[in-house]
Subunit: 263 residues, 2 copies
C-alpha cells in the first residue's frame, strides 16, 4: 500500500497520474486544489483575506465564507472528479474527506494576533487546523474491501466545526498512521532543489536540517517528510507533471528521504 | 436498517432529524438540496436554463456549468454538513456520493427534443440521469463496519460522466437494492393529501393508481413508493419538519404504503 499526495498544480496531469496508479494499488490519494478554491472564491464573490502577523508574515486567512468554498471545491468538485477519472480506468475508488468517520481530527487556533494598520489586534483564528489525530478505521475498512481511497484535506475540529488542513500535513499524518511502504509527494517541482542542484537522497535528519536553509513551501514539506522518514517510511518528493510519475519516483526519481542516519 | 430520504426543504430541521436518527441506526440517509444548488448557481453567475418539451412541459435543464455546482453543493457542502451534525451527536457517519464505488449508475438521455420559439429542436440531453443500477457493496461494507451512510444524489453515467439524479429515485432504488425494513421519505408535506385529506394507508397498487390523479411532485413520489412497497418494503411519506420525524412516521404518522393488496 502507498500513500500519494497530489498537489493542486499536478491535477492538470491527473490522467497520467491515474494511469500510473493502476499499478500501485491499493493506495490512499490525498489531493490539494488550492488554486481551484481561489478561482471559485472569486466566482462567488468571496474576497480573499490576507492577514499580517506581528513578525510581518502575510498569510491567507480562511474565514467562514472561504471555508464554505473550500468544502465545496475540495470534498465536492475535486474529490469526485478524481474518483471519476480512477473509475474510468477500472480502479475501484471511494472519495471521502477527513470529516468522514471522522478520519482527521484537527485543532484550530482559537485566537491569533495580527497587525492592522501597524497596531496589534486579536482576532478569532481562521477555519484552518493542525491535525491532532488520524483515525485509521475507515481507511483500513475501505482498503480491506479492495477500495482505493481519495481523501480531501478537510478535518473535523475539536468543537465539531469543519476545518481546512494542509494537504502535505494530511498526507504525512496519514502515512505515519497507516505505515505504507512509501509516501510519495507529487508537486510541480522535480524534487528538492538546493543551491541549484536536485538532491537525490537525504536521511531523515538531513531533511529536517535542510528545512531550515531552504525556501518557503519546500521547508515545511522537508520538515514533515523528515518526521515521516524517521518512522521508517520511505518518502519521495517528486514531479507529478511527467508520465508515470509514481513509477519514476519509486525507481529513483526526485528526492528520496529515508530513515538511514547516513546516506 | 432503514433508508431515509431528507428533502432539501427539511434540511432546516436537520438537527431534530439527526437527534431522531440516534435511535434508528444503522441507516442510509439520502439527501436533497436543490434549493442550495439554485442559490449557489446564482452566486456563481450560472443562469438556470429552462426547456420546454413538445407537449409544453417546462423543466429545468442541467448543463455542464450547473452540474458542476450540483456536485459542489451536494457532494461537498450539504453532504459534509449533514455528516458533521451526525458526528456532533456521536453517530458514526460517512458521506459518499453515488459516484463513489460507484454506488449508483445512471443513464443519461443522449438527445432531447425541445420547443424553441415554437420550433422543435434536438439538443444534447442534460447532465441528469435515470438510475439503472445500485451497487450495494460499498454501502454494505460501511454498514457492516458500523458506519451510517449519508448519500449525495449523484450517479456515474454510462460514459463515465457525473450525473445528477432525483433524490426520491435514489432513495427508492437504494431501498429496493438494500431491502431495509422501512423507507421513510421526509419532505415539507405531512404525507399524501388527496381531496383535502391526509391519506393514512395505501396498498402498493393504490399508490400507483393515485399517482395518476394527484399533483406534480407527489405523483412521482407515489409511483416510486408503490414500486418499492410492491417489493415488501414498508414505505412512509411524512413530514420532516417536526420533532422526532422518523419516530412519528414509524408510529403511524404520514402516509403508509405497504405490500398489502387491500388495506
Amino acid at each position: 500500500m502507498i500513500v500519494v499526495k497530489v498537489g493542486g498544480r499536478t491535477l492538470k496531469n491527473i490522467e497520467a497520474i491515474a494511469r500510473d496508479l493502476i499499478n500501485h494499488q491499493p493506495f490512499v490519494l490525498i489531493h490539494g486544489g488550492g488554486d481551484f478554491v481561489t478561482q471559485y472564491s472569486k466566482k462567488m464573490g468571496v474576497e480573499p483575506k490576507i492577514v499580517t502577523s506581528p513578525s510581518g508574515v502575510r498569510s491567507r486567512y480562511t474565514d467562514e465564507d472561504e471555508l464554505e468554498v473550500f468544502v465545496m471545491v475540495m470534498a465536492g468538485k475535486v474529490n469526485k472528479e478524481i474518483v471519476s477519472k480512477l473509475l474510468d480506468l477500472g480502479i475501484k475508488a471511494v472519495g471521502i474527506s477527513g470529516v468522514d468517520g471522522p478520519t482527521l481530527v484537527a485543532e484550530r487556533k482559537k485566537r491569533i494576533v495580527v497587525l492592522e494598520k501597524g497596531r496589534r489586534r486579536v482576532i478569532p483564528g481562521g477555519f484552518t487546523g493542525k491535525i491532532r489525530e488520524v483515525n485509521t478505521s475507515l481507511l483500513n475498512s475501505l482498503l480491506a474491501e479492495g477500495y482505493n481511497v481519495v481523501l480531501a484535506p478537510l478535518a473535523r475540529g475539536m468543537e465539531g466545526e469543519m476545518l481546512n488542513v494542509d494537504g502535505d500535513q494530511a498526507a504525512s499524518e496519514v502515512a505515519k498512521a497507516l505505515r505504507p511502504r512509501y509516501l510519495v509527494l507529487l508537486s510541480d517541482v522535480d524534487g528538492v532543489i538546493y543551491e541549484g542542484q536536485l538532491i537525490k537522497k537525504l536521511s531523515w535528519n538531513e531533511s529536517i536540517q535542510l528545512a531550515e536553509k531552504i525556501g518557503p513551501g519546500m521547508n515545511r514539506k522537508l520538515l514533515m517528510a523528515g518526521r515521516v522518514a524517521e518512522q521508517q517510511i520511505h518518502v519521495v518528493i517528486a514531479s507529478g507533471l511527467v508520465e508515470e510519475p509514481i513509477k519514476r519516483a519509486l525507481a529513483g526519481g526526485g528526492t528520496h528521504i529515508t530513515a538511514l542516519e547516513l546516506s
